[in-house]
C-alpha cells in the first residue's frame, strides 16, 4: 500500500533480508531505547554480582549501607529499566517495520525517549549518591530524595508517550490496510501496550503524591494505600513483560524453525485473557497484610479465577506446538520427540527460546502460583523464595527471551555483524542454566525461612540470634555458583552486543547473515486428523503434573505449621 503522505518515501529503507519497509526515523528511536536497555542491564548485572557475593556469606563483600543501595539499583535497573527500555524499542520497531508502515510522530517518540532517559539518570544518580536507600519498592514511610520519585515519574511519562505513539502507529496501519488483522507478534505487543497503560497509570497515581510528600507538600502517605497502589505498578509491569516475551516466543519460533501458531484464534484469545485478567494480580502482594478481606484476596490474586494462568498455559502449548508442527512437516515425524532432537540447537535464538519457555514455565510459573495462593503465601512471603520465583519468571523467562531475539536485532535493526558469533551458542546455556540453579536454590533457601533483602542472616548486633538449618550452606553454595554462571553468561552477551553495535563490521546484506532465518516448512500434503502435536502434548502433561504436585506439597507443608486465623 502506498504511503499516504507526499514525499514520505524518503523515510524508508527496504530490508534486504526480510523485505520489510523500515521507517528510518522509528529505527533510530528503537536503537536508542535498545542501547539504554543494554546499559541498564549491564548496571543490573554488575550489581547482581556484588549482591550474590554479599548474600553468600562466605564472601560478604559489601558493607551494610552499600548492600541495600546496590540492591535498590539492581532491582530498578533489572526489573524496570532494562526490560521497559527493551519493550519500548520493540513497540516502536514492531509497530512500524513489522507493519510496513510509518512512525506516526517521531517527535513524540523522541520526547518520550528523552524523558525516560532523564528519569533513568535521576533514579540511578539518587540511588548511587545514597539518597534513595529505599529498595525498589520504596515503601512509605521510608523516604527517598524527591528527585528519585521525580525520576520515576519522568520515566513513566516517557514510557507512556511511546506507548501512545505505538497506538497511533497502529491506527495509521489500520487506515492503510482496512480489513486486515495484525500479525500475531504485533498483536501480542498490543496486549503488552494495553497492560502498560494501566500499569503506568497506577505508577503515576502513587508516585505523584509520594513525590509531593517527599517535598513536604503532603503531610502523610498511608502505608497500606501506598503498598496497594504501588503494586498496581510493580506486578503489572512484570505482566507487560509476560505479554511481550510471549510475543517474542512466537516471533522466535517463526524465525528459528518457521513455526506458526497452529491456531491463531487460540493464541489471540490467550492474549485477550491477559488483558482482562492479569492486572489484578498485584493483590497477591497483600495476601498476608492487614486490612484487605479474604474475598478480595482470593478473587484478585487468582487473577480472576486463574484466567491469566490459563492463558499462559495456552501459550505453553501454542508455542512449542508451532515448532513441532513445522518440524514434522519437514519430515521429522519419528516418535514423540524426533522434531525436538532435530531442532536447530546450535542457533542461540532457538536454544534461548526453549530454555526461556522451560524456565519460565517450570520454575517461574509453578512457583508463582504457589506464592500467589492466599494460604501458601504465609510460608513464602518475603523469604528468598520470592526473588527465586521472579528470577525464574523475569530473568529466565523475559530476559533470556530478549537476549535471544537480540541475535536477530543486531543484523536486522542495527545493521551490524554479530561479534564473536562463535560463542553465541553457549550464551543461552550458560545464562539459562545459571539462572535456573540460582532460582531453584533461592526458592529452597526461602523454604528454610531465609529472608530476602537481608544483609546478615547471622543477625550480628541483634539482641538474640538464630541459626538456620545447616543444610542451607549447601544451597548457598549452589546459589553462588548459579549466580556466577548467569553473570558470566550475561556479561558475554553484553560484550557481544556492545562490540557489535559500536565497533562491529557493517551488515551489508543477506550474505553477511550469521544467524539463520528458517525457510517456511513445506505445506501439509493433506488435512490433518487427530493430534497435531503429540510431543508437545506429552510435555504439557508433564508440566501440569509437576504443577499439581508442587501445589499439593506446599499445602502439605503449610498444614504442618502453627494454626493461625
Amino acid at each position: 500500500m502506498a504511503v499516504a503522505i507526499e514525499g514520505g518515501e524518503k523515510w524508508f529503507r527496504t530490508c534486504d533480508v526480510t523485505g520489510f519497509r523500515v521507517d528510518v526515523r522509528a529505527e533510530k528511536i528503537a536503537k536508542l531505547n535498545a542501547v539504554m536497555a543494554v546499559v541498564s542491564f549491564l548496571i543490573a548485572v554488575i550489581a547482581a554480582l556484588l549482591l550474590v557475593l554479599t548474600r553468600w556469606q562466605l564472601f560478604h563483600v559489601l558493607p551494610v549501607d552499600w548492600y541495600y543501595r546496590v540492591l535498590t539499583l539492581h532491582g530498578l535497573d533489572a526489573l524496570v529499566f532494562w526490560i521497559i527500555f527493551f519493550e519500548l524499542a520493540a513497540l516502536v520497531f514492531g509497530s512500524t517495520a513489522f507493519l510496513n508502515t510509518r512512525m506516526s510522530s517521531p517527535a513524540v517518540g523522541w520526547l518520550g525517549t528523552i524523558l525516560a532517559i532523564v528519569g533513568w539518570l535521576l533514579v540511578n544518580y539518587t540511588i548511587l549518591t545514597g539518597n534513595a536507600d529505599v529498595l525498589m519498592t520504596s515503601y512509605a514511610p521510608l523516604k527517598a530524595h524527591p528527585l528519585f520519585y521525580l525520576g520515576m515519574i519522568l520515566f513513566a511519562v516517557g514510557a507512556l508517550l511511546i506507548v501512545m505513539v505505538f497506538f497511533a502507529n497502529l491506527m495509521i496501519w489500520r487506515r492503510e490496510n482496512p480489513g486486515q488483522s495484525l500479525p500475531l507478534f504485533v498483536y501480542g505487543l498490543m496486549a503488552a501496550a494495553i497492560i502498560a497503560v494501566i500499569t503506568i497509570a497506577s505508577g503515576a497515581i502513587i508516585y505523584i503524591p509520594t513525590f509531593l510528600w517527599s517535598l513536604g507538600i503532603i503531610s502523610d502517605i498511608d502505608p497500606a494505600v501506598y503498598k496497594l497502589v504501588w503494586w498496581g505498578l510493580g506486578h503489572p509491569s512484570q505482566q507487560i513483560n509476560v505479554a511481550a516475551h510471549v510475543s517474542v516466543w512466537y516471533l522466535l519460533a517463526f524465525l528459528t524453525v518457521g513455526g506458526t501458531s497452529i491456531n491463531e484464534k487460540v493464541s489471540r484469545f490467550a492474549f485477550i485473557l491477559y488483558i482482562i485478567a492479569i492486572n489484578v494480580a498485584s493483590a497477591h502482594h497483600l495476601l498476608v497484610d492487614p486490612a484487605v478481606s479474604p474475598v478480595w484476596k482470593v478473587w484478585n490474586t487468582s487473577y480472576v479465577m486463574y484466567l491469566a494462568v490459563f492463558a499462559s498455559m495456552i501459550h505453553a502449548f501454542a508455542v512449542p506446538s508451532a515448532i513441532e508442527v513445522a518440524q514434522r512437516r519437514r519430515g521429522f515425524t519419528k516418535g514423540l520427540f524426533e522434531w525436538l532432537k532435530a531442532a536447530p540447537w546450535g542457533n542461540p535464538a532457538f536454544s534461548g527460546l526453549m530454555l526461556s519457555m522451560i524456565i519460565f514455565g517450570f520454575i517461574g510459573g509453578i512457583t508463582g502460583v504457589v506464592n500467589g495462593m492466599e494460604q501458601t503465601n504465609i510460608i513464602v512471603h518475603n523469604t528468598l523464595s520470592i526473588p527465586g520465583h521472579f528470577k525464574g519468571a523475569v530473568v529466565g523467562g523475559t530476559a533470556l527471551a530478549f537476549m535471544s531475539v537480540t541475535y536477530y536485532l543486531i543484523p536486522l535493526l542495527f545493521r551490524k555483524k554479530i561479534a564473536f558469533y562463535g560463542v553465541s551458542k553457549f550464551v543461552p546455556w550458560l545464562f539459562g542454566i545459571g539462572i535456573a540453579i540460582l532460582a531453584v536454590s533461592m526458592y529452597i533457601l526461602g523454604a528454610f525461612g531465609i529472608p530476602r533483602r537481608h544483609w546478615d542472616i547471622t543477625f550480628s548486633g541483634g539482641p538474640f540470634t538464630y541459626t538456620f538449618n545447616p543444610v542451607t550452606d549447601f544451597f548457598w553454595a549452589l546459589f553462588g555458583i548459579g549466580g556466577l554462571l548467569a553473570v558470566l553468561g550475561a556479561l558475554i552477551w553484553i560484550i557481544q552486543v556492545v562490540v557489535s553495535v559500536f565497533f562491529g563490521q557493517p551488515f551489508r546484506g543477506p550474505q553477511d547473515l550469521q544467524i539463520p532465518i528458517a525457510e517456511p516448512p513445506p505445506a501439509p500434503d493433506k488435512e490433518h486428523e487427530g493430534f497435531a502435536a503429540p510431543g508437545t502434548f506429552a510435555l504439557v502433561l508433564l508440566f501440569i503434573t509437576a504443577f499439581v504436585i508442587f501445589v499439593a506439597l506446599n499445602y502439605g507443608w503449610l498444614s504442618a505449621m502453627w494454626e493461625v486465623k
Binding site: F185, T260, P290, M305, F317, Q375, P463
Partner: protein, 176 residues
C-alpha cells in the same frame, strides 16, 4: 506466521484435538485452584487473618507498655519477657530495629496477637516454622495463633526497614 497477518479464514479454523484437550485440562486445573483456596478457608487451620484495627503509633505503644507491665516476668538482653495467660491478647511491637516483648506461650493454647509498627513497614517472620506476615504502622493486625509445637522461636524482620534491619530479631518461647 508471527510476522505476517494471519492467513485467510484463520478465525474459522478448527482447534486441533490435542490443543482442545489441553485447554480443557488447563481450565479445569485453574478453576480448581481457585476453589481450593475457598475450601481451605472452610476446612483448614492456616488462613491469614484480616481482622485489623486502626491505631496510631502512640496508642499502640501505650497498649504494649500496659501489656508488658501487666505480665512481665523478667528481661533478656534488655528486652522485657512476658507470660500472658492462654486465650489473652498479646501485643507485639515492631520498631527500628527491635521486637518487643519476648512472649512465653503455652503449647496448644490460642493467643490473639496484635502486631503493629511504630515507624516503617516490618516483616514478622516466625522461624523455624516459617510463617510470615506484614507489619504496618497505624494498622493493628490481629492474628490468632495456636502454637502446635514447643521450643524457642525467632521472629526475624523480613521487610527492609532501614540500615539496622539485620539486627532486628525477637523471640517467642513455647512451653509444653
Amino acid at each position: 506466521m508471527a510476522i505476517l497477518p494471519p492467513s485467510e479464514g484463520w478465525f474459522q479454523q478448527k482447534v486441533a484435538k490435542d490443543e482442545k484437550i489441553w485447554m480443557g485440562l488447563a481450565f479445569v486445573v485453574s478453576v480448581f485452584l481457585f476453589f481450593w483456596m475457598i475450601i481451605w478457608h472452610v476446612y483448614a487451620k492456616q488462613n491469614p487473618s484480616f481482622t485489623t484495627y486502626r491505631t496510631t503509633p502512640e496508642e499502640f505503644y501505650a497498649l504494649t507498655e500496659a501489656f508488658i507491665n501487666k505480665y512481665k516476668v523478667g528481661e533478656e538482653n534488655g528486652v522485657p519477657v512476658v507470660k500472658p495467660p492462654p486465650g489473652s491478647d498479646v501485643f507485639l511491637l515492631a520498631r527500628q530495629f527491635r521486637w518487643e516483648p519476648v512472649v512465653i506461650l503455652k503449647k496448644g493454647e490460642e493467643y490473639r496477637f496484635h502486631i503493629s509498627s511504630l515507624d516503617v513497614l516490618h516483616g514478622f517472620s516466625l522461624q523455624p516454622v516459617n510463617m510470615n506476615f506484614m507489619v504496618y504502622p497505624k494498622y493493628d493486625y490481629v492474628l490468632t495463633f495456636r502454637p502446635t509445637s514447643a521450643g524457642e522461636y525467632a521472629i526475624v524482620c523480613n521487610e527492609f526497614c532501614g540500615i539496622g534491619h539485620h539486627m532486628m530479631i525477637g523471640k517467642i518461647i513455647v512451653e509444653e
